[in-house]
């Protein structure tokens, strides 16, 4: 019988800039399922729209597209800040990475604050009609995703604090950045559907 070789695959991968970490792979796989979740909502949106013969959004729905547009831009730009944070961490500059995470946090926070303000002042609710239902559920679950991202950033900051080398948390930060980019891209599509398309 041939020789048997003891192999125990390494659990913790060394830092690699080219190949994503196991956490990164896991995050991407999971984001695939998130994509399907939002696809379900978009499917509902287009189904209901197709069935509704009348103008869209229905009469009586008034949205401040400009204000939302500004905060949407802020959210999209926060992706760049997040990427900068990853870049800093990759080059072993945890302090700077933390600063950029904080900036991202502030931008995301501004977005959520605006959304809360919007919800409080809008003249229609989820019970008004199917458009209202779509608006609140779609922007609501997206807002929840943003909040989860913000919480993860706080956690990241706590973890990075007091560390000499940020590299130990690099996979986590990279995974967080995938998530954040995803949340931003989804918002672009949502914004187009809920605010722009008539």
């Amino acid at each position: 019988m041939a020789e048997a070789i003891v192999t125990r695959p390494a659990r913790r991968e060394p830092i690699r800039f080219s190949k994503p970490s196991i956490l990164g792979v896991g995050t991407m796989v999971w984001l695939g399922s998130e994509l399907m979740f939002f696809s379900g909502l978009f499917a509902a949106y287009f189904t209901i729209r197709a069935h509704d013969g009348s103008p869209w959004p229905p009469a009586g729905i008034r949205l401040d597209t400009l204000q939302s547009g500004i905060f949407s831009t802020v959210l999209v730009l926060s992706s760049l800040a997040m990427q900068k944070a990853v870049f800093e961490a990759e080059h072993d500059r945890p302090r700077s990475a933390m600063r950029w995470i904080a900036i991202t946090f502030a931008m995301g926070g501004a977005f959520v604050a605006n959304q809360a303000f919007e919800w409080a002042t809008l003249k229609f609710g989820p019970q008004t009609d199917a458009y209202g239902s779509l608006f609140y559920v779609m922007s609501g679950v997206h807002g929840l995703h943003v909040i989860v991202g913000l919480a993860a950033m706080l956690l990241m900051l706590v973890r990075l604090k007091g560390l000499k080398g940020g590299s130990r948390h690099l996979p986590g930060l990279q995974a967080l950045s995938y998530y954040w980019h995803f949340v931003d891209i989804v918002w672009v599509a949502l914004f187009a559907c809920l605010f722009l398309v008539h």
Partner: protein
């Protein structure tokens, strides 16, 4: 056999996989083997509970105008029976149980990619499952709108009360559990394969689980989205599924079945994988056409996302020829699998151990159910049989063939590995034959009932309908089946009271899980054989019949 592959065996090795510390350590364990076992115990418990509900259902239908339970209770019973069997037994049993336990072993990994996430999955599953049962203890009863929860019946005006809400929450939690396990397994398979184990050397069981995982990630989130909308309709006055506010009721059916049809293959594929492990080992041949099987698995998964509206032929709102054609086409890759299994035993030396018995019982049962599925895929025939007992018979045949027969094949096959003990072959044979007999007696009459016009989900029928005799036969069959299932419990209890130690590789298995001890140590492997084919353990044990190409000295990829 080499001493490197087999370790000494002691009766107390069962303890080795539970680190000391008792119950607390056990429930907080992140070891995939402990979690896998927890999944199996829990899922099987749900199966027996749901099976007991099935017996109540059958008892109610024994007589016309039965009054064993009231109509409301009856509706709750089949709703929870179906939901529990599909969401809490079949899926978690295969995907949380077998996959969790076996896949890391088969790919030579020390654990899953994310052990703590794995533990979370299990707790979400247990919490979700218990939540569903809680419905029975609320004043207005459990959910009573069928496992498919068609809107608007499932929305507030027609199904008020906490029971339906508990059902929604339960499915959502179990869905998250499935998604997390899916992420975990897919990542594990991509990332943690042992050196030398290329994708096309992976055991077919692992392949099935990979594809199932992907299918879960595609299908379940859509259900979650639908549940969010349903919940919003129920509690925030939203109008997704109500005509009055501009919503579209039939949208529920589209969203649900976009999940629901892949779901039935999520249930079937893992069990196909089990059959693909058991059949070659017991025929002592390699699987016939490995690549064809991989292709067929992928084709089934791909097609299954495009056939959902075959559950909606009678709505009059879907494109019939398209969905009919794709549904019919699924027979082709499924047929490839069936013929592959037959070709694998062809020319073999078939040993009829209990796992093989269940596997061979699986094939006719599944083919029968699959062929009636093909009939249903023809819209005119479906107009006739939709929502009748013909459909009930179809899906029980495929579901029980896969989850029960192939499931038992898997249990009997891996039980020695998992527990370090053998199950009794004699009781196992009775377990098989009685369950099998009961199965055919229960479900064949239901086809005829369907053709005679008996709708499903009815608590009562009239004596003049002509359904009585066939219903009685079916009920008797269900009780026979229950006796057969009870024998499984007897067998397990026996192995527990009077253990018979299992060897490391009692069936002459070919894949890596048989290269470690029974049960495996916490880190799974002390050593791995070289992997030069899809059957590394076979190559090691039968060098003269090995699959692997001859080794050129010094030029071996797994020597590093």
């Amino acid at each position: 056999m080499t001493s490197l592959l087999s370790t000494e065996k002691t009766g107390s090795q069962v303890e080795e996989s539970h680190p000391p510390g008792g119950f607390y350590r056990w429930i907080t364990s992140v070891d995939h083997k402990v979690i896998g076992k927890n999944y199996m115990y829990t899922a099987l418990t749900f199966m027996f509970i749901a099976g007991a509900m099935a017996l109540l259902i059958r008892t109610q239908l024994f007589n016309p105008n039965g009054h064993v339970v009231g109509q409301q209770t009856y509706n709750e019973l089949f709703t929870i029976h179906g939901s529990m069997m599909l969401y809490l037994f079949a899926g978690p049993f295969a995907f949380g149980g077998f996959a969790n336990y076996i896949v890391p072993l088969q790919i030579g990994a020390p654990d899953m990619a994310f052990p703590r996430l794995n533990n979370l999955s299990y707790w979400l599953f247990l919490t979700g499952g218990s939540t569903m049962l809680l419905g029975f203890f609320t004043a207005s009863g459990a959910a009573a709108f069928g496992w498919v929860a068609y809107a608007p019946l499932s929305s507030n005006p027609y199904s008020p009360g906490p029971g339906p809400d508990l059902w929604i929450v339960s499915i959502a939690l179990v869905g998250f559990s499935g998604i997390f396990t899916g992420v975990n397994l897919v990542t594990t398979i991509f990332y943690l394969r042992a050196p030398g184990l290329t994708m096309f050397r992976m055991p077919l069981f692992t392949w099935s689980m990979l594809v199932t995982g992907i299918l879960i990630l595609v299908a379940f989130p859509v259900l979650t989205a639908a549940l969010v909308m349903l919940y919003a309709d129920r509690h925030f006055g939203a109008h997704f599924f109500s005509v009055q506010g501009g919503g579209v009721p039939v949208m529920w059916q589209n969203l649900f079945w976009f999940f629901g049809h892949p779901e039935v293959y999520i249930l079937a594929l893992p069990f196909f994988g089990i059959i693909s492990e058991v059949v070659p080992v017991f025929a002592r041949k390699p699987i016939f056409g490995y690549r064809g099987m991989v292709f067929a698995t992928l084709a089934i998964a791909g097609l299954s996302t495009g056939v959902w509206a075959h559950h909606m032929f009678t709505t009059g709102t879907v494109l019939l020829p398209f969905f009919s054609a794709l549904s019919l086409l699924i027979a082709v890759p499924t047929g490839i699998k069936v013929f592959t299994w037959i070709a694998t035993i062809w020319g073999g030396q078939i040993r009829f151990g209990v796992p093989m018995l269940f596997a061979m019982g699986f094939i006719p049962a599944f083919v029968m159910g699959g062929i009636t599925g093909v009939m249903l895929a023809s819209p005119p025939i479906d107009f006739y049989t939709h929502d009748t007992y013909f459909v009930v018979a179809h899906f029980h045949q495929v579901l029980i063939a896969t989850t029960i027969f192939a499931g038992f094949a898997g249990i009997y096959y891996w039980y020695p590995k998992i527990t370090g003990r053998m199950l009794s072959e004699r009781i196992g044979r009775w377990n098989f034959w009685i369950t099998y007999l009961g199965f055919w007696v229960t479900f064949m009459p239901q086809y005829l009932l369907g053709l005679r016009g008996m709708p499903r989900r009815i608590a009562v029928y009239s004596a003049t309908d002509g359904f009585t005799f066939l219903n009685r036969v079916s009920t008797v069959g269900a009780y026979v089946m229950a006796i057969g299932m009870a024998l499984f419990l007897v067998n397990v209890v026996r192995s527990w009271r009077r253990p018979v130690a299992a060897e490391d590789n009692p069936w002459d298995g070919a894949t890596l899980e048989w290269a470690t001890s029974s049960p495996p140590p916490t880190h799974n492997f002390h050593s791995l054989p070289p992997i030069r084919s899809a059957r590394p353990v076979w190559d090691a044990n039968h060098p003269e019949h090995s699959d692997a190409a001859p080794v050129i000295a010094g030029g071996d990829e797994s020597a590093h």
